[in-house]
Symmetry: C2
Subunit: 222 residues, 2 copies
DNA sequence: TTTATTTCTGGTCAATAGACCAAAAAATTA
DNA sequence: TAATTTTTTGGTCTATTGACCAGAAATAAA
């Protein structure tokens, strides 16, 4: 059995399903509170240190309630990962306003990527921890992949407007390189904190990615 | 109390220390067997799932023996991280033979970085897990930083020979960018396995890094 | 060989973990 | 308001965990 709703899960019997209902307003509120509480608990305990009791305390919810709303601790953890991913992609979309050309677009995307990360370094650790944890969890590896797909997609969309003539594959490759670079810089900042260095690294990455875009033939002939 | 021997730990009283001796040959053998066993156990359980009993079983060692050789499970885990880091840096040094110019050197370094990772993807996960775990563990965060420093250093050394005139800071920045990129690609390969894509990403990264080297003024005027 | 030291073993222990359930309470519907 | 459903609560249960210790065994020193 999968930990969360698997991608290929047939939604048949959505109404007459014998499973628990949990449809009310209050339920949704409690669910959200639990997810938020889990995130808080994860921030100061990490995946290895977290327990259902600590979560319940942070969410100010009874321990039994946790199991009423989530099938297992793993299911809750994966719900958090889901929320985190969606939030991240959303932040990126909002942060990247209109740019004049591709070079500027690359700059803005990377700058936005970094600002988001720098604002939430503690959460970034959690994100990595949960992604790795998903890879270990039976039936949850697909969530790690979706995290990646969604974030790549957000980057594709950001670049697409400034490379309309280019093949989608070239854009995709730029997105991958950009994401890889940012992820690597975040990892470095976590392991060896030094904001000044990391900001410099972002600048370097911007230059490198602009050059890559040229190599990939993404710039309009103008 | 620190988990392992901290960097600033005074080594005074090395001989007359009241602590356990553990100096014999057999002891060193068992220690290594424990580290190797822990690595194996980590590979198929992950940091969250590992237990001292599973380790002892993999290492074919009595549970009590584990605690005789290592102060705690954390200490053993950190010893593994240490071993892993040293092994990695060593592999890189060996893999990067003489290159003609900086461009070729960059290519070889990145290719080597990737080959090492691709050969040991399971271990790569463990490495990330342990690094993140170190960040959470009281008195072990310095180990995460040392992982980073050592690996950066290995890259610096690889590049230094082909950019002798350049300021050390520029070389350092190239090393950072290269490492960040590779780490990011590894992360992507773990989350969404696709060797063909990752290899392409490495090629793209090589091109981008060669361009960055130019931006940084690392190429000899020739 | 005898003595001293290092290393290993069997067994134990308190603490904590995730999960669960019957019943109470709250909310919704009739 | 009464009936029904959803949600919460208090309490419990078993399994597992990391750590530890006293003594046995093995190894090295005398």
């Amino acid at each position: 059995m999968t930990t969360s709703d698997a991608p290929e899960a047939d939604d048949a019997g959505q109404e007459a399903a014998p499973a628990r209902r949990r449809a009310g307003r209050k339920a949704r509120e409690t669910r959200e509170r639990l997810i938020e509480g889990t995130l808080l608990a994860l921030c100061d305990e990490g995946v290895t240190g977290i327990t259902t009791r600590k979560i319940a305390e942070k969410a100010d919810v009874h321990l039994g309630t946790l199991h009423y709303h989530f099938e297992s601790k793993d299911a809750l953890l994966m719900a958090v990962l889901d929320t985190l991913g969606a939030r991240l992609a959303q932040q990126l979309r909002l942060g990247v306003a209109g740019s004049r050309d591709l070079d500027e677009c690359i700059e803005r995307v990377l700058e936005t990527d970094w600002i988001i990360a720098e604002r939430n370094l503690a959460i970034q650790i959690v994100q990595y921890e949960l992604t790795l944890y998903a890879l270990r969890t039976e039936g949850a590896a697909w969530m790690a992949r979706r995290q990646y797909d969604d974030y790549i997609k957000a980057h594709d969309d950001a670049f697409a407007g400034h490379a309309s003539g280019a093949p989608a594959e070239a854009i995709r490759r730029l997105s991958q390189a950009v994401m890889a670079g940012i992820d690597g810089i975040i990892l470095q900042e976590l392991a060896a904190p030094d904001l000044a260095r990391s900001r410099g690294a972002v600048r370097d990455l911007i230059a490198a990615m602009q050059a890559l875009a040229r190599t990939l033939g993404l710039h309009r002939p103008r």
